[in-house]
């Protein structure tokens, strides 16, 4: 009987393995170059606009990118002018990942730096729940805030709550993810996902050997900021005619990432290029190549220090597009300018610097923790570096 079971089992697995073997590049690939269908989230006009912004010259102080603006369009804020010190309130989507934690610490430090002008800073964490954030914003409206900063959890669901806040008459500043309304005084964010994805994919396809095999690692499907990164990379890979042998989802998990990369190395022998939509698992991917005794191919990561460190130590061919955490400083600066009646830009597009081999040393600080984001613009803030450790 056991033998029978074994035979049946093998028959089953044989069936399962036959079909995809016909399409040698695996299940993730449908179209010619292996990148599959374009994402539903792809909007050509936005893509073109973001790529144009990558080359735009910012206005503002060169040593303070968090105060810089790309293609500014100033709006009048005289009606919000008020004498200080001010009470500033912040409804935060979540603190549930290292990026947000570094960002929030940066924001707190900015508040401390502006202490003479801010009497009180109220922070409410929505813990990643739309319903809680709607209630949070509603509560804050009754607390006598002079300005409200919102980092929305999701775009569509939070729009009515932000509109209600605008109607209450106080200046509203939205940053990071957006809302579907023009009512906030300004919306602050860096260039965006298309820019991020494009920079990484262009680097990888230029540095790898022509026609080589690329593995693309994504965190998860269906999230707009990540979909835009991948869709821009897809455009770049299609144009460069590289062979994308796999597009896999890692859930942002190093263990899963290492296993996936190892699987691909075993299956194809070598991988010539590695692209990822977020840097959190970059080190795990590098380790997979090291542990398999293979050279690490040209790749992109992000500005987390663990990746920058391994990049430097192992002399990788790498690039790190960023989604800078210094954008958490800007809302405080914007709110204070608005309360002064100064003009601010809306939208406030922040530059999105890229870390390359040439400026790597400038961002690599061996004393900071591995999950710290180098592009925090926080070295001049009170409490650095202790606050971020």
């Amino acid at each position: 009987m056991a033998a029978l079971a074994a035979v049946t089992l093998l028959a089953l697995t044989a069936c399962a393995t036959d079909e995809p073997a016909a399409g040698p590049s695996g299940s993730a690939s449908a179209a010619g170059s292996g990148t599959g269908e374009q994402s539903k989230f792809f909007v050509q006009a936005d893509y073109d606009a973001e790529l144009a912004l990558l080359d735009a010259a910012p206005t503002g102080p060169a040593d303070k990118p968090w105060e810089q603006v790309l293609n500014p369009t100033m709006v009048d804020t005289a009606k919000f002018k008020k004498s200080g010190p001010h009470k500033i309130c912040f409804s935060n989507a979540a603190l549930n990942n290292p990026w947000r934690q570094v960002g929030f610490k940066t924001m707190q430090a900015e508040v401390e730096a502006q202490r003479s002008r801010i009497s009180e800073f109220v922070h409410v964490d929505a813990e990643g729940k739309d319903q809680k954030q709607i209630a949070d914003i509603n509560d804050l409206l009754g607390k006598g805030c002079d300005a409200l900063i919102v980092s929305p959890n999701t775009t569509a669901t939070l729009t009515p709550a932000v509109e209600a806040a605008c109607k209450a008459g106080l200046p509203v500043v939205v940053f990071d993810r957006g809302v579907n309304t023009k009512c906030p005084v300004t919306f602050i964010n860096p260039i965006g996902g298309y820019g991020f994805g494009h920079v990484g994919a262009e680097f990888v396809s230029q540095r790898m050997k022509p026609g080589g095999k690329v593995l693309a690692l994504r965190i998860l499907p269906g999230v707009d900021v990540l979909e835009t990164r991948w869709s821009a990379a897809k455009v770049a890979f299609d144009k460069a005619k590289v062979d994308v042998v796999g597009v896999e989802f890692t859930d942002g998990d190093p263990a899963k990432t290492k296993k996936i990369v190892d699987d691909y190395i075993q299956r194809y022998g070598t991988i010539d290029g590695l692209w990822m939509d977020a840097g959190a698992v970059a080190v795990a991917a590098v380790e997979a190549f090291q542990d398999a005794g293979k050279p690490v191919p040209p790749m992109n990561g992000e500005d987390q220090l663990d990746f920058l460190k391994i990049w430097k130590d192992k002399n990788l061919t790498a690039i790190a597009p960023t989604y800078p955490t210094y954008q958490w400083r800007t809302p405080i600066i914007a709110a204070l300018r608005i309360l002064d009646g100064q003009q601010v830009s809306n939208p406030w597009k922040l530059p999105q610097p890229t870390i390359t081999q040439d400026n790597l040393d400038q961002y690599l600080d061996a004393n900071m923790p591995p999950l710290h984001y180098a592009m925090c613009g926080c070295t001049d803030l009170p409490g650095y570096p202790q606050r971020w450790k």
Binding site: D253, D263, R267
Partner: protein
């Protein structure tokens, strides 16, 4: 036919008790041939050694799960226990090499303690182990989230990661032998010794018929509790290896409990207890990993793995049930 074979074959090399290892060895051999045809490089010593090292955690978990299953219980908490251990280790070590060994000891104690709680709740409070360990699973998942605010803090030292990542280099013939494989061999030897001891026989007797065991003077609750502790300890060792392999991760242990149970069942251990060997369980885990490797070589989506696991559990239990009723 199988029954006759099992009873009559004088194969003393590997002790053939009911639930012997012959079937699983056959499957393993067939898979090895299939892998050899598709990807001959895989059977080169360096690649094979790395595969064995990578598979060590799940084989350890299968050994731990064997003790629990053979005495008639389940342990669904091992996956979340592994995750909790990795996250705890990262936070406590905080990249400081000096804390490596104290934390390793603490993890073993933590694993044993979780096993003890599972065992006592199951045996003394008479909560079915399925529910006890499901509860423990949820408690550990929730506690890890609460404790770490949703993103792991700290880091593992290179000394800690060595066990799961590094290898003894330049071994003649084999190339590099992963530390994980050495740990696995040591634990496997201990496990085999244990199953051949009085305790091992008692454990199987308890699983076969707890009432008879009780009447013949076995303290059933104590035996079962020890089985849970062994499973917890195995999870701790697996966590040390897995944490070393992949670094801090929130999903380090996700799904491992089902992998371990599938492996044990595949290795010929009867769900409900009383039959099977720890070697079979460990070979089951190795076979499962080899099957996944084979699927990978054929380009089968990783998403199918859980489907295959499910099919194996159903098939193996069905076969085992038919066999029992024929007995």
């Amino acid at each position: 036919m199988q029954i006759v074979q099992r009873r009559r074959l004088p194969l003393r090399l590997i002790r053939v008790r009911p639930g012997g290892v012959l079937p699983i060895l056959t499957i393993l051999a067939v898979l090895l041939v299939l892998v050899g045809i598709r990807q001959p490089d895989f059977l080169d010593p360096p690649s094979l050694m790395s595969f064995l090292g990578r598979s060590a955690p799940i084989i350890l978990l299968a050994a731990g799960q064997y003790f629990v299953i053979v005495c008639g219980e389940f342990d669904l908490s091992v996956g979340s226990l592994v995750t909790a251990q990795v996250v705890v280790a990262a936070r406590l070590i905080d990249s400081d090499p000096a804390r490596t060994w104290p934390v390793v000891l603490l993890l073993l104690a933590f694993g044993a303690a979780v096993g003890l709680v599972n065992g006592l709740i199951t045996t003394r409070l008479r909560v079915p182990s399925f529910i006890t360990t499901l509860g423990m699973f949820l408690i550990l998942v929730g506690a890890v989230y609460l404790w770490s605010d949703g993103s792991p803090k700290g880091g593992l030292s290179e000394e800690f990661r060595r066990f799961g990542r590094r290898a003894v280099e330049d071994v003649p013939l084999l190339g590099r032998v992963p530390y994980a494989l050495l740990v696995l061999l040591a634990v496997a030897a201990l496990a085999v010794l244990l199953t051949r001891s009085d305790f091992g026989r008692t454990l199987v007797a308890v699983g076969d018929n707890p009432r008879t065991a009780e009447l013949s003077g076995v303290r059933v609750w104590r035996t079962r509790t020890i089985a849970f502790i062994l499973s917890g300890l195995a999870a701790a060792v697996a966590a040390i290896l897995l944490g070393g392999y992949s670094g801090v991760s929130f999903q380090a242990g996700a799904g491992l409990e089902f992998g371990a149970i599938t492996a044990v069942v595949l290795g010929g251990v009867a769900l409900g207890g009383g039959r099977g060997s720890v070697v079979g369980a460990m070979l089951g885990a190795l076979t499962l990993e080899l099957l996944f490797a084979l699927m990978n070589f054929y380009g089968v989506s990783g998403a199918l793995r859980s489907t295959v696991q499910g099919a194996i559990i159903l098939l193996a239990v069905a076969v085992s049930a038919t066999r029992s009723s024929a007995r």
